[in-house]
Amino acid sequence: MITWLLLTPFVAMLVLLFLPARLSRWWALVAQAAGPLMVAGMSLQFDRAQGYQFVERVPWIPTLGVDYHVAVDGISILFLFLTSAIGFLALLAGWASIQDRVKEYYAMLLLLQAAMYGVFVAQDLLLFFVFFEFSLVPMYFLIGIWGGERRMYAAIKFFLYTLTGSVLLLIGIVALYVVSGARTFDAATLLSSQLSPAAAQWIFWAFFLAFAVKVPMFPFHTWLPDAHTEAPTAGSVILAGVMLKMGTYGLLRFALPLLPQVPDAARIVQLLAVASLIAILYGGLVSLMQNDWKRLIAYSSVSHMGFCTLGLFSLNELGITGSVLQQVNHGITTSMLFLLVGIVYDQRHTREIAAYGGLATRMPNFASLFAIAVFASAGLPLLNGFVGEFTILSGAFQANRAWAYWAIPGIIFGAAYLLWLYQRTMLGRLDNPANEALRDLNAREWLMLAPLAAAAILIGVYPRPYFDLLERPVKALVESLR
């Protein structure tokens, strides 16, 4: 089942290369639509009382002990669902606006999709590394070819940053392989092997840095505003919606399990929580200062991902559950925000906030959906953001009260920069004549936004299924950390 999921976009990409260009977007659409259906099928068969399921394991490089080993648990399946849905919606985002090198564009999206699925299901460290790396290349091209004005700068910055992370990841994996002497790259075996304190420490830091760049945690975050801003809408959506989560997912799966063997772990966790808090406050304050609509949302991700890492480093069930849930929530709301900007950008070709204002008069439906996204992102109860934030902060409070106190102003900043953005773009008088020609949402745009809005409300009102799904894997992780 998982292999089918991985192969669908990949094979679709190969077929795409032989199709005429005008068919490529339809073909890609069909392939991407299959994703959510397949994941939905999997989740129907998924038994949350069990651990890893849908296991497939075939030797790949037997001499080194590398296996093609994929499986999902409650955490993975949530991310698969997010990935498949975001992939589908991102495809719709460029439906009309991508006009040149159409075929290559859709090929890149499909390739990226396969790689992202792989990251969330790989149970073999080398396999994981391959997928992790492979996601980098299509994104580099998406930014570099179809991006905004400063796309080359952004693409190269993105590539260099994350490549540095990847090198560290590879070093960490190889070191772990060598030091443990296990003769296998199986993640579970390697992560539970006995290490010397020094080795554990070095490998932990290698993993941590590799994923911290991806999240991105302060102070490794400056690739993010450039990459998110310059990327085409689909690229921003996938970056924010899925690829940032590859970082937090990596931390959760591969860095945290090493912690018990690391000497002085409590001190390190303290340090990392402080880095998360800095990201929350810093990201919030810097967002307040942005004059570029997309850049503002990009910076808000720094703040929101800070909440996610804070939850992880709380090392208790509430914090980690909240973190995973918030990663999904962030994927939903931030994707929505980027899709919304994209709609306006495609018509006006400027991201300058000052160029807008009073759009609510011309685009009432757009303004309503934007309001839902803004309030979901600001953590209003009965919308999804609140559930995650609240759970994370409860967990953080139990881990260390001071963390919650320091994180709290981040909530005020969050409301401040979002509402101010909303006011400057939607409210007021429509006095820029260039905005007179803007039209309200069309059917395709409704199709992109309505599912996300519905998910935001649904998770906000009835988050129980997600907690149930996460209960077993998170409990197991927390117990292994004691």
């Binding site: 810093y282 409301a415 009835y462």
Partner: protein
Amino acid sequence: MVTLIPALPLFGAALMLFLGRRLPKAAINLICCSTVAVAFGLTVLTLLELRASGGSSIEHRFGTWIPGIGAEWGFYIDALSGLMMLIVTGVGFLIHLYSTGYMAHESGYHRYFGYLNLFLFFMLLLVMSNNYALTFAGWEGVGLASYLLIGFYFDRKNAGDAANKAFLMNRVGDCGYLLAMFVLVSAVGSLRYADVFAAADPQWATAVAVLLFMAACGKSAQFPLFTWLPDAMEGPTPVSALIHAATMVTAGVYIIARSEPIFVLAPSVPPVIAAIGAVTAILAATTAMVQYDIKRVLAYSTVSQLGLMFISLGVGAYWTAVFHLFTHAFFKALLFLGAGAVIHSLDGEQDMRKMGGLRTMLPFAFWAMVIGTLAIAGIPGLAGFMSKDAILWEAFRKSAALWAFGLLTSLLTAFYMWRLVRMTFLGEPNHVEAHNLPLSMRLPLIVLALGSIFAGWVPLTNGGESHTDWREYLLMSVATVAALLGMYAAQRRIRLLSPFYFLFRQRWYVDEVLFGLFARGLGRGGGGILQAFDSRVVDGAVDGTGWTARAVSRAAMLWDTWVVDGVVRSTGLVVRASSWPARALQTGSLQSYALVFLLGVAVYLGWAFSQ
């Protein structure tokens, strides 16, 4: 049945916001007013049922909302929440009815009623919930509805600013609420009122009490978080009456009254509440004295009256505070709707300096305003007198200073309210024409006027203590004299406290300080510094690394070209030079090889023979 009470307004709101654009006005009126009317009816039935059952409360539990922290879907109805439900649905209905007349010519009619119904849903959720988390959902939800309604005329810049300010100032308070819940989750493991109160413990009670009080300061506009409320007057006037006078702003009073079991375990907190209440009451009352915008006078008056309620909470008289909340809902809604009638008749004019002499043209509004004014000023027998007197008495029993603050507030209240009536209705008429009021606007005024007169006789304060203490009668007379004095001064245009007007006009500089400190200082200053940090330092480091890398690679390239390659090349030269003899020998021609071979053989043989 209980579920229907909040569900009906929610249904109305959803209908309006999704389909409202296609509905005729009559349908909108019918749907939105009837959802609220039915909710009111159901509330009455529920409370009658509760009374008949003989119990003091009922709890409905429907299921988990957020697992792990004890947030659930559930309702808890007792006297306190029952009273709040009656106010919310009752006054809510009257204001819906009034709005059908007031808003008749506005665009965005369906949007207005959608938001209004949405507000009622969240407000009912707030007061009916059986746990802190769901109350918080209502708490934030009313903030959202308030945001949407303050910003209803969103094409005005002021409206957008005011909406943002209200939401953000409330957010500051909300942080207290959130932190209080974190304390409860880690201490009790549940947020359900019954569980929390059963486990109430002095160890954490103080922290929770302080944090909840902080939340209440935001929502109920107490010092220093009160400046959003006057600005909120940018919204339509019926909204000011419902949300920013009768219901939402009293949520802070509600949450403290609800949490009484926690506050009684934290003896150090109530004095702070009383002090903040007293300060707020005076600051707001003095500011109201110098306002010219009719709605702003009423807004500051609301802040001031909320201050009185907080004094009452602070001296431990929880039900007295709720009693004043109840009477205040009537007379303040009446005053706002009366002011709305004036504004409506004068096509949106709010400056009292441009009014005057309206008594003859708007007799209906005049009498409504006079009744409301007498009620709030504390003329014996009317609703405001009963509840305010109760608060003053409770305050006096704790501290004479608090009583003095309350008394001064009463005097100033009478002054600024009569000033309002004089400036608006009395004197020479300077308006030619004023529209008449439709029935839909008159009816709510009548009901609220009756409430403002008689609501004080409802025996709310538990058991109704008999007034036996002679001191109480003395204080009552003093308060009455003060009220009359205040009105007299206003009528005679005596400028009370005029040396301090520069302070009152600037609203005691609270806004300036807050704005400078947070918006400019922290927001713009801090954000600016960090932004610079990001682009200079962090990106500087990154770009610097890039530059260094380039510099290094250039150096490496030079090194490569000149040094390494030089070495390589010179090596080549050396080899070449040293190899020329060998090369010279290797000509490739067989004859020369043969010659060399022969020479070699000859040399070898020569050497061998010489041995």
